[in-house]
Symmetry: C2
């Protein structure tokens, strides 16, 4: 085994209902771990004010997106109010090959597509302390109507009904604990015997 | 689900060659985590100077030990230079029921017995940076003869040949990192979906 041997990174899929605090937790863990790449999605919608190419999204045309679909170069995709959203596999695979761990933030349907294509992907489901806390967060942060909040709550129940395809659950009732647990999961997965057998020498 | 619901603890089995630093790592992790009980073994040998009953070992008689064997009340046992050593299951199960995680420090043969009896036990194998480092540590710390050190090195190879029954490997080339990884493993195992499904409410 050469000195320069660097194992491939691992792929983590983080899901959870809107309002569970995914972006906060992921933002902090990416800052705290220096070996994690947060995957950027591609979309065909127009950039919003302040959004940066390659940072918030890869902004591509409809025909570019459909070519990615045809060529099987998306880990997952969906269309939503007339626009495509998806995860191009090429940047993910490049980072994994370079030894970075890669984190995807996607909803449960996209996560199911990823896990079918990549059975070694590790799913983490983020949930707030309770549905009641989730409702309160949505009411606090959102300018949504009561009806829109009910719709998000229904959607949260749908997302949660798919929790068993995830390997881990993090309850985000205290963000520091949630970040610590996410880091612990990533750290532990890299201690798996299959990852480290080559080090016994 | 009642408010007072407290999940059972998890059982961790830590092994590794003599000189890998098991006691140091376990000592620190027990100090840092307040929910971990370090299991005390039973033995039929005489207490050495400074050893305390129930702290270093449970010191019991030959006939008491053999009664534990007959009644199936040991998670594992072995005899070594005329004395029995083993892990009584009762204190372990009591702590697990109370919700504590329990850590056993045992060599690989005993670990195999535990894992057969408790398939949900989680094995962690601790290894120094390399066999060469192990040899240096043994030479530094020990008053053993060169022959005795060679014997320990042979034994280390035997222990390592059984590494694949462990779920995790920790390379103890820096004790702080090793302790962090051990804590990460315990934390992550408690985030498993099967452990937390009841919290989605």
């Amino acid at each position: 085994m050469s000195e320069s041997y660097k194992p491939k990174g691992k792929l983590f899929v983080i899901s959870g209902p809107s309002g569970a605090g995914k972006s906060t937790v992921i933002g902090r863990l990416v800052k705290q771990l220096n070996n994690v790449y947060f995957s950027v999605s591609a979309t065909t919608r127009e950039p919003r004010r302040g959004e940066r190419e390659g940072h918030d999204y890869f902004f591509i045309t409809n025909s570019e997106f459909e070519q990615l679909i045809r060529e099987g170069k998306l880990l997952e995709y969906a269309s939503y109010v007339g626009h495509y959203y998806g995860t191009p596999s090429e940047p993910v695979d490049r980072k994994l090959d370079e030894g970075f761990d890669v984190v995807l933030d996607i909803e449960t349907k996209g996560a199911a597509q990823v896990m079918e294509k990549r059975p070694d992907a590790i799913g983490i489901f983020l949930f707030p302390g309770s549905y009641e806390i989730l409702r309160q967060r949505l009411m606090l942060r959102s300018t949504d109507s009561p009806e829109a909040i009910e719709k998000r709550m229904e959607q949260a129940h749908v997302e949660c009904s798919r929790v068993e395809m995830y390997k881990y659950i993090i309850i985000n009732d205290r963000v520091e604990t949630a970040v610590d647990e996410a880091i612990a999961i990533i750290t532990a997965e890299k201690c798996k015997t299959s990852e480290r057998l080559h080090l016994l020498k």
